[in-house]
Point group: C2
Chain length 369, copies 2
């Protein structure tokens, strides 16, 4: 094997993703590649759809992993559901809300943004007031803002969006498999996620799910989807039906990895997995307090799996991250955008959300601070 690859060593991944990958997912990735139309592979695809529906709490027939990373999932939702001139409202309080704005704008939508301060959650009352002003084609919000560590009140926003008549689009890249995201119960019409966060699979795929209302909008489009690679009107013919039609060659081994990742979560049990994330977060919070470190986000809106930790006065934040990586083989993340230099982002995602790993980070932080 190439020397650079041979030299790779395990890192405890406690940044904003990827998270630490469990051994059986590595083994899954290295299972024999078979054809993308091989009946054995079709059967894995069928199972994958059922696993995703189970994890997402949905009966949506259109539930499948797209062949790109989480950002491709975001693009998939917008490019399939938005037409030029559509009025779109984005609820933004971090990098990924702003990315939604960027994606939708490029597609010719009339995009309005309701901005909230980074580090604070979307305020439901303000959303309600805006939604009473006029109807929207689509309202988008990020469930778990990876850039700030804020959890947004998706459950409370859902009924307001439904009343407005808009489709409700939710970014669940960081939340899925780390906290409940019951798609049907919360009235979500389009959801996308990623594999490298709480699923602890390497990056490369983006599970998406579309409600019947979303599928109706897709089928009623005036123009074709302006993106061949992400066109769900065609991709569904590869992922469902009696006769599977080739669209593009599926990323076979990555799909093995996702299948194993989903099996691990569902075998452990969704509630147990969520509880493990909450416990890891509580352990981290206690340890950080002992070290005199503080969170960016108020307790009520803190995510368990993504912790924005304020950088103490006088500490060289990049040097601390380098020391953790080089001396302790632990990766934590830097701040993004306006939070660069102000916070570290500590991820407790999926396989990483375990007491022994939190302990290892706290010990290392104590040594280096």
């Amino acid at each position: 094997m190439h020397a650079q690859l041979e030299a790779l060593q395990e890192v405890l991944l406690m940044g904003p993703g990827p998270s630490t990958v469990p051994p059986s997912i590595y083994r899954a990735l290295a299972q024999p590649t078979i054809g993308h139309l091989d009946p054995a592979f079709i059967s894995i695809m069928d199972n994958l759809k059922e696993q995703l529906k189970e994890l997402m709490g949905t009966n949506n027939a259109l539930t499948l992993p797209m062949s790109g990373t989480g950002s491709a999932g975001m693009e998939t939702c917008f490019v399939n559901l938005v037409e030029p001139g559509d009025r779109v409202l984005i609820l933004a309080n971090g990098v990924f809300g702003k990315r939604m704005q960027d994606v939708a704008t490029r597609l010719g939508a009339e995009v309005e943004v309701l901005d909230f301060a980074w580090g604070t959650p979307v305020v439901v009352e303000e959303v309600a007031a805006r939604l009473q002003e006029h109807p929207y084609a689509l309202v988008g919000v990020v469930h778990a803002e990876t850039s700030t560590g804020v959890g947004n009140p998706v459950e409370a926003i859902g009924p307001l969006v439904r009343e407005n008549g808009a489709l409700f689009l939710v970014d669940a890249v960081t939340s899925l498999a780390g906290m409940p995201v019951p798609v049907d119960a919360w009235g979500i019409d389009a959801l996308y996620s990623g594999t490298q966060k709480c699923l602890s699979c390497p990056p490369g795929l983006s599970p998406v799910s579309f409600s019947e209302r979303a599928v109706n909008k897709l089928q009623a489009r005036e123009g074709r989807v302006p993106n061949w690679y992400l066109d769900l009107t065609q991709i569904v013919n590869y992922w469902s039906g009696e006769k599977r039609s080739y669209h593009h060659t599926a990323p076979i081994n990555m799909l093995y990895g996702l299948c194993e990742a989903l099996a691990l979560v569902l075998d452990e049990g969704k509630d147990a997995v969520y509880a493990r994330h909450r416990a890891a977060h509580a352990q981290l919070a206690e340890g950080l307090q002992e070290l005199g470190l503080t969170f960016l986000v108020e307790e009520a809106s803190r995510l368990p799996m993504l912790n924005a930790v304020e950088i103490p006065e006088g500490v060289d934040e990049a040097a601390l991250r380098a020391a953790l990586l080089n001396r302790h083989r632990i990766e934590i993340g830097a701040g993004l955008g306006p939070l660069a230099g102000k916070v570290w982002r500590v991820g407790l995602m999926g396989h990483t959300a375990r007491p022994e790993y939190v302990e290892r980070l706290l010990t290392a932080l104590k040594a280096e601070l």
Copy 2:
């Protein structure tokens, strides 16, 4: 590991891709995931760019793997280089030429298609005549038409396109690493490929390369690239420069696989690899002749790595493919589009292009026909 994954068995992949993956690439895929901004990963990315430039025979600074399969590479080239109203000429003689037309049309280009019969090559004189009529923004052609087994005369078309003033876009999904594709020498301005053909890596990535002329066109765009995920004006800031900026999370383990795949090809030597493909093709041709089977394509235009074999009168083509898969663990491909039911597609790509594998296929065919 999940039972479906545990049950997977090696198949000799002799279809239109994926091809059979060598053991060290599986090991590379299962190397420890590290962060997408980890200096060790940046160093692998830098090496990947150099490996790709070496394989493609180019000095193009903008040479990198996109985070999607080969079709995402096609979309990348069009969405970055074509603006609404641009006059685009596609030279089409198979599924992938027609896909270019589809992709470009969705982007609002004024698309003209010069069609050639499937199974025959693009005729240089007809291209020359068309290119004298008026200037185009871009001319696209598929080097190795995976749907028919035809090799198109890219080398002869290049100078004509340059004279016209258009950018020259080449699909090298099936040709790269199986036959020479010297990007600079042939005057190619934009090239895309895939990993699951002659590189024998699982599907999931698409290497692309843009010439300086292509980069100039990209930088001179009037509007933004209407596709966030594939926007090369942003992606280059993650793949080059002193300070790497996060765009989307790179598909880390897939990139390990590609790095190993490129190392295998370059270590063996490009010329030796191309000769191995030609030898495997010659061995197949001789064996098929003994079995009384014929090629769809005239000898002069036949690709070494993709062989369209005519289905003899009275043979149930699907039953033969199923017998090869179930009794011999060999996959060959069906015909696509108008060639469905008329040809089998036998791939001799990358690791699959070896005498022992060709022999195994010929023996199995003899037993089943």
